[in-house]
């Protein structure tokens, strides 16, 4: 059934991603691809992987933004890396628009999944997702998306400490956290409260479960700050260096 659970689940499993700590290394994206291409959604097809226009299914993508503050000067601002995967929203239209019942949200823990045996590949759910989190597998003819590593987090064949999403355990910066956001006392909920965690595009009304922690404010440029410039006239003053410069400028 693509109706959402009648009661929002009390357990809300999700990710908390720290934009202050994320260094944009893409390790989580790679480990996600690696794990899931062997998981329930396998394979994460790559088309033309070594050709000139490679195309493939990934559940996690890292965008890098520049946040500038022109009023504080041309160099004020910061670079922010933003990993983006399914947010396992609480009231997402991606589930309700599905005509076949392939898309569903689990009542027990809030995870949003796709039953690939039912999916007809109409792509409507990807249109209804505001976060670009659903990627169509052209080869398999079905829609695919982040499973919150449902095959890891409950997997009794794994050691207790490994029952974490692949992207979380891989992150070398410790920027990704996994837990129950429905439980106020969980580590992730405390982290969100402490650091003013926020939702992506809240106006859409899908109520994402995943939260993002804002980058901490950077110290602004001081008045004595001057951007580094390479000025030939200024730096090359000896005759010898000028000769070297000429020699190598040829």
């Amino acid at each position: 059934m693509t109706a959402l659970p009648s009661q929002p689940s009390t357990k809300k499993l999700g990710l908390v991603i720290d934009l202050d700590t994320c260094v944009g290394c893409h390790a989580c994206a790679v480990s996600c691809k690696e794990w899931n291409t062997g998981g329930p959604a396998a394979p994460l097809t790559d088309l033309n992987p070594y050709g000139k226009d490679p195309d493939g299914v990934w559940f996690n993508r890292i965008h890098t933004y520049e946040v500038s503050q022109p009023e504080l000067g041309p160099t004020a601002g910061q670079t922010v890396h933003l990993p983006r995967s399914c947010l396992h929203c609480e009231s997402p239209d991606c589930v309700t628009v599905c005509p076949t019942g392939a898309s569903y949200k689990r009542a027990e823990d809030g995870i949003v999944l796709i039953d690939e045996d039912k999916c007809i590949g109409c792509k409507l759910c990807s249109w209804a997702c505001g976060y670009g989190a659903r990627e169509y597998d052209q080869d398999a003819g079905v829609m695919k998306k982040c499973t919150l590593c449902v095959d890891r987090i409950y997997n009794e064949n794994l050691k207790e400490e490994e029952r974490q999403p692949s992207c979380v355990s891989t992150c070398p910066a410790g920027a990704r956290h996994f837990g129950d956001l429905g439980d106020e006392n969980s580590d992730v909920s405390k982290l969100v409260a402490e650091r003013n965690g926020f939702d992506l595009m809240p106006e859409l009304g899908y109520k994402p479960t995943n939260k993002y922690l804002p980058p901490r404010p950077k110290s602004g440029p001081t008045s004595s700050y001057r951007p580094l410039t390479i000025d030939k006239q200024e730096t090359v003053d000896s005759r010898f260096l000028k000769w070297v410069d000429r020699l190598f400028s040829r």
Binding site: H63, E66, A76, T100, C122, A128, G130, E135, A140
Partner: protein
């Protein structure tokens, strides 16, 4: 949004087919079209062919067309599912009414009941098509009531022109049909115009700052996308057409979908015989081309909010 040919063909052909069938039945049930066997045969054949051709085209873009029957199951929440159910339910009713008309030669009594039900279901089907798009919050341009109204009225206008041609080719008196066309074309033109005006001036509700949540820190721009080649989301959702071209194409759509067919229909009214038939067929070709252009633009002009993550500033 990427204007997929299969979806454009589906919405225009099925829409026109349902429009034609609705008008054929409404006019007959109100005594404005004769229960003429030839007209019945040709009208239902053309209408059902358009509808079926469109529905088949719509399955071409599915990854698993053989599972299409599953799409009937989620009518409680999904407009796509509702559309499928209504489309399938319309068939037997249209066929019963057509049987009464063509085989028995009667459209009254029980036959008329089937007819009225078929009309309602056809209208529901076309509205459900519109609702698939209108219900998407992620595409602000579509997310308004004019989208559904447009789908309905354009279906009727296209259907009216096609039915007039059919009537001309069968050789019945088409004055009622021509007058109806002359009423529907300007109405649909006006509604399409208001849709475009709305789309142009609807203020952006989403921006890159709120999408990324970084807007409070300063002006957000995309420094590096996650990958070098466009992915599925960018190819499917990222298609936009330059304003300049959109303007030109809107003009083309208006000329072929509304202006030319209206003029040609006036011509049909003033001429008779072969010339009138010829003009009505020209109107049919013109309106079909115009509607295809209009539908292509409907998709091509729509901006999806997920593009904000890829650097689009507002949606």
């Amino acid at each position: 949004m990427h204007p997929a040919l299969s979806v454009i063909l589906f919405t225009t052909a099925s829409g026109t087919g349902y429009g034609l069938l609705m008008l054929l039945m409404i006019l007959n049930l109100n005594g404005l079209l004769p229960t003429d066997r030839g007209l019945g045969m040709a009208g239902f054949a053309v209408g059902l062919t358009l509808v079926t051709g469109g529905l088949l085209a719509s399955t071409f873009h599915l990854g698993h067309p053989e599972r299409a029957w599953r799409a009937m199951s989620q009518w409680r929440t999904s407009w796509l599912s509702r559309e499928g159910v209504a489309a399938i339910a319309t068939y037997p009713l249209v066929l019963i009414f057509a049987a009464g008309w063509v085989i028995v030669g009667s459209t009254s009594g029980g036959w008329s009941l089937a007819g009225w039900l078929a009309i309602v279901l056809a209208a529901i089907t076309v509205s459900a098509t519109g609702m698939i798009y209108a219900s998407l919050k992620t595409i602000p341009q579509w997310n308004n009531p004019l989208t559904v109204v447009n789908y309905l009225v354009l279906a009727l206008a296209g259907g009216a022109v096609w039915l007039t041609s059919v009537g001309q080719l069968i050789g019945i008196d088409t004055n009622v049909l021509v007058l109806l066309t002359l009423l529907l074309l300007p109405i649909s033109w006006a509604l399409k115009y208001s849709y475009w005006t709305l789309v142009d001036k609807v203020p952006a509700q989403y921006d890159i700052g709120s999408a990324t949540g970084l807007g409070g820190l300063g002006d957000v721009t995309l420094l590096e996308p996650p990958h070098t080649e466009p992915n599925f989301v960018q190819k499917e959702m990222g298609f936009t057409i330059a304003r300049r071209h959109a303007k030109k194409l809107r003009r083309t759509a208006v000329i072929f979908a509304f202006v030319l067919p209206t003029a040609l229909m006036v011509g049909v009214l003033m001429t008779s015989g072969g010339l009138a038939t010829f003009l009505s067929v020209l109107a049919l070709l013109s309106v079909s081309g115009g509607l295809l252009t209009e539908r292509w633009l409907f998709f091509a002009e729509a901006v999806h909010v997920s593009m904000l993550f890829y650097g689009t500033q507002k949606a």
